[in-house]
């Protein structure tokens, strides 16, 4: 209850974070009730009389019109929230877990562990993200697993660096020394004493990683390496592009999924920008 009130106070004071959190809330609610909210089955091929209802414009029956294969755009958009959240959250959790662990080890243990992890991070950061994902998808099998794996494999250094520098300052504090004196093992100090202190920071990077994962999924789908059996915003855009929606000026088809992606990624940026002020009060007056 206290935490909820504190969160509310924070959101009221930070308009950026408030808007971001509101967007996330809206997307989560939509994803939970997708089957109730969507007017049609997203994969159902709709018909007008005996003909397939292709390229219907915006109308009271189809708020966002239909696709080239007669599917309801609004329903696909609503169902897309599920795959977006699924990809975004799994990738964010994995990337933050790896990044935090690496940052913690490097920062706390120092020495050759630190050197090794920092070097590894530098090398990973010089791998081109999209090309790597393409090659991996082509050599294994296309789908969301590859997207999540790539985000996890290639984006952990960003989190690790920040966590590392945070741990570097934390480990010099008196209470860490106190813990050591009372005979706590390194493992215990790292995971019981220091880890909780850096979790908020890790969560912050997680909110940005959600956006990265969704962008990655969209790009993979667009290039033809998404999972064709899921209804995702990326797959919607790919279908629109491949079926001449641009030439036909079917704005009602290819604008909404893009806007949905933008709002979700933007929400992550906004939350992280807003909470930066909370975590680093020094920046607040800048």
């Amino acid at each position: 209850m206290r935490a909820a009130r504190a969160a509310w106070r924070f959101l009221r004071g930070e308009p950026f974070a408030f808007v971001g959190a509101a967007i996330y809330a809206l997307i989560v609610v939509t994803a939970i009730f997708a089957d109730k909210l969507a007017p049609h089955d997203p994969r159902e091929i709709l018909r007008v009389g005996r003909r397939v209802a292709r390229y219907l414009p915006i109308s009271p029956e189809h708020w966002l019109g239909t696709t080239s294969s007669g599917r309801d755009v609004l329903s696909q958009l609503i169902w897309g929230t599920r795959s977006a959240l699924q990809v975004g959250l799994t990738a964010a959790i994995v990337v933050v877990a790896i990044g935090t662990l690496m940052g913690l080890l490097a920062g706390y243990l120092g020495g050759w562990v630190d050197k090794l992890i920092t070097r590894l991070a530098d090398i990973v950061l010089s791998m081109p993200f999209l090309p790597f994902m393409l090659v991996l998808a082509a050599l294994t099998q296309p789908g969301t697993t590859v997207v999540v794996a790539c985000v996890a494999l290639l984006l952990w250094p960003n989190t690790a660096r920040v966590i590392r520098s945070q741990v570097l300052s934390l480990r010099e504090r008196a209470w860490v020394e106190a813990a050591r004196v009372t005979g706590c093992s390194n493992t215990r100090i790292m995971f019981v004493h220091i880890l909780p202190q850096v979790l908020p920071l890790a969560a912050l990077y997680g909110s940005v990683a959600i956006g990265w994962a969704i962008l990655a999924e969209a790009s993979a789908s667009f290039l033809g390496f998404g999972d064709p059996n899921t209804v995702s915003w990326g797959v919607m855009l790919q279908e629109a592009y491949a079926n001449q929606a641009l030439g036909r000026g079917a704005w009602n088809w290819f604008t909404p999924p893009g806007l949905a992606i933008v709002s979700m990624v933007l929400a992550g940026f906004m939350i992280s920008r807003g909470s930066e002020k909370l975590l680093f009060p020094k920046l607040a007056d800048k």
């Binding site: 920092t118 070097r119 530098d122 090398i123 950061l125 010089s126 791998m127 081109p128 993200f129 999209l130 090309p131 790597f132 393409l134 090659v135 991996l136 998808a137 082509a138 050599l139 294994t140 660096r161 956006g211 962008l215 969209a218 790009s219 667009f222 290039l223 033809g224 390496f225 990326g234 855009l237 629109a240 592009y241 929606a245 641009l246 030439g247 000026g249 704005w251 290819f254 604008t255 999924p257 893009g258 992606i261 933008v262 709002s263 990624v265 933007l266 940026f269 906004m270 920008r273 800048k286």
Partner: protein
């Protein structure tokens, strides 16, 4: 930093670059050969007859043990031999050499415009700190960074090319005509007309970073002692902002430019695909889609090497420009 100190840094960075490139190429080798399934399937098109098959197997060294294959692969790489395309039956290096200038032109043009705009707009916004325009400009800059590049491209394509007909819908030259040499391309108005939309897409996508970076560092620099000093000397606000603050705030932006150059060469993959721009990214996508593995491998290696090189350049630029950076105390 002392001169010898800087030279040592250069040597250290170059050594690390070599290490990175070696690891990247090794990972690429392992990726392409150790994937589940028969590696010969990945390397040999089923349409080849028995004779070409054996010849190719031998030329790739695929009949040998893995470590020997690795030595051959590295040897070939060092000689610039990336193999032969399955689909087009030409050396991979030639395909890449044809595509690379297009990618570089697109990236350089877009990055330069994006950074010129971002620097000016960022400095302006720092100047406007606390005014109403911030509430609009910052979310707008963040929003363009949140949009998938290919979707921005799709919107521009649908509006400016298909609907209004102002620009061609794809490619680098009108269908049927020859691309010509690099000089021919740069002097041809058609080429620039084709370049416009992909470049604009990239500009929209890329301008947010320099803008936010410039604004943030400007605000930081404006509080520094030497600015207070300049103000005390009675210099005009404009002179302070432009001649003192901006020059110091540019430093991270310059580094970001070098990093951005490397990242864009790889990240252009989707933009080049949307606009059918004949660059390295599109070569990679088509090779991957068509299971043309030597081309995919070559393009991936090229993109990685460019990225790693630009990262090194960014590091060195930063050290060369900022007297405060000392050797060994990086990050």
């Amino acid at each position: 930093m002392s001169r010898s100190g800087f030279l040592r840094l250069v040597a250290e960075r170059l050594g690390f670059l070599v290490l990175t490139v070696w690891i990247t190429t090794t990972v690429t080798f392992l990726l392409f050969r150790l994937m589940p399934g028969d590696p010969t399937l990945a390397y040999l098109s089923p349409t080849f007859n028995e004779e070409t098959r054996t010849a190719l197997l031998r030329s790739f060294g695929l009949d040998k043990p893995l470590w020997e294959q690795y030595l051959i692969y590295m040897g070939n790489l060092l000689q610039g031999d990336l193999g032969t395309s399955f689909l087009q039956r030409v050396p991979v290096s030639q395909l890449l050499a044809d595509a690379l200038p297009n990618t570089i032109i697109l990236t350089l043009v877009a990055l330069s415009i994006a950074y010129a705009f971002g620097i000016v707009a960022g400095a302006f916004l720092a100047f406007q700190r606390g005014r109403g325009i911030e509430g609009f400009a910052i979310p707008a800059a963040l929003a363009t960074r949140s949009a998938p590049e290919f979707w921005l491209g799709m919107l521009l394509l649908a509006g400016l090319a298909f609907q209004l007909g102002w620009f061609p819908t794809g490619g680098a030259v009108p269908p049927g005509s020859n691309l010509g040499g690099v000089v021919d391309r740069l002097t041809s108005p058609e080429f620039w007309r084709h370049l416009f939309l992909p470049a604009l897409t990239l500009v929209l996508y890329l301008q947010g970073l320099p803008l936010l970076l410039m604004r943030a560092t400007m605000l930081e620099v404006m509080n520094d002692e030497f600015i207070v000093m300049a103000r005390m000397k009675g210099l005009s606000r404009w002179s302070i902002v432009m001649r003192h603050a901006a020059r110091n705030a540019l430093l991270p932006v310059v580094t970001a430019f070098a990093l951005g150059l490397g990242a864009s060469v790889g990240g252009n993959v989707v933009v080049e695909t949307v606009f059918a721009w004949p660059g390295v990214g599109r070569v990679l996508v088509q090779a991957v889609q068509g299971a043309d593995y030597p081309v995919a491998q070559g393009a991936f290696i090229l993109i990685s090497v460019v990225l790693a090189t630009m990262n090194t350049v960014a590091d060195l630029l930063y050290a060369a420009l900022d007297p405060r950076v000392s050797v060994g105390a990086r990050r």
